[in-house]
């Protein structure tokens, strides 16, 4: 009997079902669990209170990232610089204590491998194709770029995974996002995902797992795929997937926690089966022509508020939906923008290159290419580059990228989440504008009153040079 054609999501799901209940809820086995300091303390505390242990400590990896200041961690004498904010210090100390207490491997701020969990997981080979990966962080979707079913969870679920190595889940619907054609010059993975979010909307993927399909994704590097999948959650989808292939295998081979020897061959044989079967049905399908994608920027306070850099600030009347009209008017007010203004006339005071979306080596290379031999404009008050991990930082320094950044007037920082989310000292002041390679342009996300424009690393670099949002193609052609 020929079995029914299955999607990649179906295959990973089916391989992780421990038990299905009568009501359709399944116990799904979790292969990889990443833990950071913000969403885990209450989970560890609950385990202690209930007298429970961690079922499989070797399947969890703990790394601090959200609270860590990105300024120097050692002083001139080599001693640890204390963290000023007592609450941040307490939260970081809790993780440093909880990890060994429960037998979990901890990569701390003093380790060269420390970084943003979603950069560290793939980099260490901890995140693998075909695995289920969770973390108390919605950008866990990133790891789908390796062909893993990866999604963010709440703290109660963190506790559930620690105690049982499983989650109780309902099967999601599936959504295909197919991109045909080729991306034009100056158009990156970040521009593409911003464009996709604009097409399907901030809630378009709710209840779905997205599979990104088409040659554009097949030709992407792993770093670019991680960028695309990272922002699936901004389209409402808890997870995004790209089928694993030779590009992924080459990326993973030899990484510290990747399979070795004969196990590697077994793994690759299995990973090669992880693709959507011919004829498999998706619950929803969206097709996008790559030629329609320009360098893309956000104008509002939802990641669906996107425009090509060649566009003008929209008028609220231009939206058909009355609730969207009201939301647009509020967004424009918060953003301090007037309808009809060309996007390229919006001056910026801050530039942030970093975050789990765009802090990998390729992102830094993209930005450095634009900045080489140039300087940030005088009106750009604050420009920082925050590598996604200590290893990315080291690699960039070996390539001399740090010098390009500092010569251009950027600060070269230590790894962490930084100005993506206003939890550590890196914040954008109220009323000021930031060209940011992060993932969320929400009200107050980069600090109370901060105005965020989401862009690619190359576009952030171009904005720094011009002192305003700029079409990077004009600087590179």
């Amino acid at each position: 009997m020929a079995s029914k054609p299955r999607t990649l999501y179906d295959k990973i799901w089916d391989d992780h079902v421990v038990e299905t209940r009568d009501d359709g809820t399944a116990i799904i086995y979790i292969d990889r669990h990443l833990v950071h300091e913000v969403t885990s303390p209450q989970a560890f505390e609950a385990l202690r209170l209930a007298g429970r242990s961690v079922r499989r400590p070797e399947l969890t990896l703990a790394v601090p990232d959200h609270n860590l200041p990105t300024t120097a961690r050692r002083d001139a004498a080599g001693s640890k610089v204390p963290i000023e904010d007592p609450q941040s210090a307490a939260q970081l100390a809790a993780l440093e204590r909880n990890a060994p207490d429960f037998g979990i491997r901890y990569i701390g701020d003093a380790d060269a491998e420390q970084g943003i969990v979603h950069v560290v997981g793939p980099e260490q080979g901890f995140s693998l194709p075909g695995t289920t990966i969770v973390c108390g962080d919605s950008h866990t979707a990133s790891h789908g770029g390796l062909g893993a079913l990866a999604f963010g969870i709440g703290t109660s679920e963190v506790e559930h995974v620690l105690a049982t190595q499983t989650l109780l889940l309902q099967r999601s619907k599936s959504m295909e996002v197919r991109v045909d054609g080729e991306l034009g010059p100056g158009v990156t993975a970040k521009d593409l995902i911003l464009h996709i979010i604009g097409v399907i909307g901030a809630a378009g993927g709710t209840g779905h797992v997205i599979e990104y399909r088409g040659r554009v994704f097949e030709e992407m590097s792993v770093e670019q795929r991680l960028t695309v999948c990272n922002m699936s959650i901004e389209a409402g989808a808890r997870a995004g997937l790209i089928a694993p292939d030779e590009t992924v295998f080459r990326y993973l081979k030899g990484r510290p926690m990747s399979p070795k020897g004969a196990a590697w061959d077994h793994a690759v044989a299995y990973w090669n089966t992880l693709r959507t079967d011919e004829g498999a049905q998706f619950d929803k399908s969206v097709t996008i022509d790559a030629a329609d994608v320009a360098p893309t920027v956000t104008w509002g306070t939802s990641p669906e508020d996107v425009l090509p850099i060649t566009g003008t600030v929209p008028s609220p009347d231009s939206f058909a939906d009355p609730s969207k009209q009201a939301a647009a008017a509020k967004s424009l007010d918060y953003m301090g923008l007037t309808p009809g203004t060309p996007m390229t006339e919006i001056a910026i005071e801050n530039v942030f290159i970093g975050s789990c979306t765009n802090s990998r080596i390729e992102d830094l290379r993209d930005a450095a290419k634009v900045l080489k031999g140039r300087k940030k404009a005088d009106n750009v008050r604050w420009a920082i580059v925050v590598p996604g991990s200590g290893l990315v930082k080291r690699q960039a320094e070996e390539e001399g990228l740090d010098r390009i950044f500092t010569d251009a007037g950027f600060e070269w920082r230590e790894p962490g989440c930084s100005a993506c989310l206003g939890m550590n000292p890196d914040k954008v002041p109220a009323g000021e504008r930031c060209a940011s390679t992060s993932n969320r342009n929400f009200v107050g996300r980069q600090g109370p009153g901060a105005r965020t424009h989401l862009v690619s690393p190359a576009m952030a670099a171009a904005a720094a040079v011009a002192g305003k949002l700029t079409d990077v193609r004009e600087l590179t052609e």
């Binding site: 116990i27 070797e58 307490a90 919605s138 963010g152 499983t166 196990a263 077994h266």
Partner: protein, 199 residues
């Protein structure tokens, strides 16, 4: 968590669309290592303006929140659910929620009711006029003092957990043997996955 069967009382007519969890509880409040006391930071940027619904005495202590499409989108922070609970809210009514938020809500004894926009519009009107609303989980209905009766769907497992105030970890631990069987099978078939950080 406290079991929940019926929520009755005033409702906060909030109604905004795409409200993200950064709005529900900004990042600076996430530095806590406790689940308590987050109500103080709930909806901080909205409450910064004087005429906001959350501080309107008419809705003081209201156990129901009426919200717009895609409520709780963005960050997975469960602090959003803890903050709402700390405000005394036990039921939210909206046309849709982010997947992560609705899961977090249920795990904390908050009932996320899904009803279409036209019903939301009607309930906003009732709430603004200061009338009480009743959410009945057992019968899956929302009613007003004016003969309005709306039925809603909810996943049976979520309903079961909410009605019983059940702890999912305890439920899953009842299946420990099945988990062990799964692990045994995997550690022989895919030892490289089972090794984790021990490689």
């Amino acid at each position: 968590m406290d079991p929940i069967s019926q929520v009755e009382g005033r409702a906060i007519p909030f109604g905004a669309k795409n409200v993200d969890t950064d709005i529900i509880i900004p990042a600076k409040w996430l530095k806590t290592i406790s689940r308590e006391g987050l109500g103080e930071g709930a909806f901080e940027s909205i409450r910064a303006s004087e005429d906001n619904v959350f501080d309107d005495p008419a809705y003081k202590g209201a156990p129901i929140l009426i919200a717009g499409d895609n409520f709780g989108c963005g960050s997975s922070r469960e602090h959003a659910a803890w903050a709402i609970l700390d405000l005394g809210i036990r039921a939210v009514i909206a046309p849709s929620y982010s997947d992560i938020f609705s899961g977090n809500a249920v795990k904390n004894g908050i009932l996320p009711v899904v009803l279409p926009q036209e019903v939301i519009d009607r309930l906003m009107e009732v709430a603004r006029d200061g009338h009480e609303i009743t959410v009945d989980l057992e019968n899956q209905t929302v009613t007003t003092p004016f003969q309005d009766r709306f039925t809603f769907e909810i996943d049976p497992f979520r309903k079961h957990c909410l009605l019983g105030g059940l702890d999912e970890v305890s439920l899953t631990l009842e299946s420990s043997d099945a988990i062990s069987t799964f692990e045994d099978r995997r550690s022989s078939a895919q030892a490289w996955v089972a090794a984790g950080t021990n490689i």
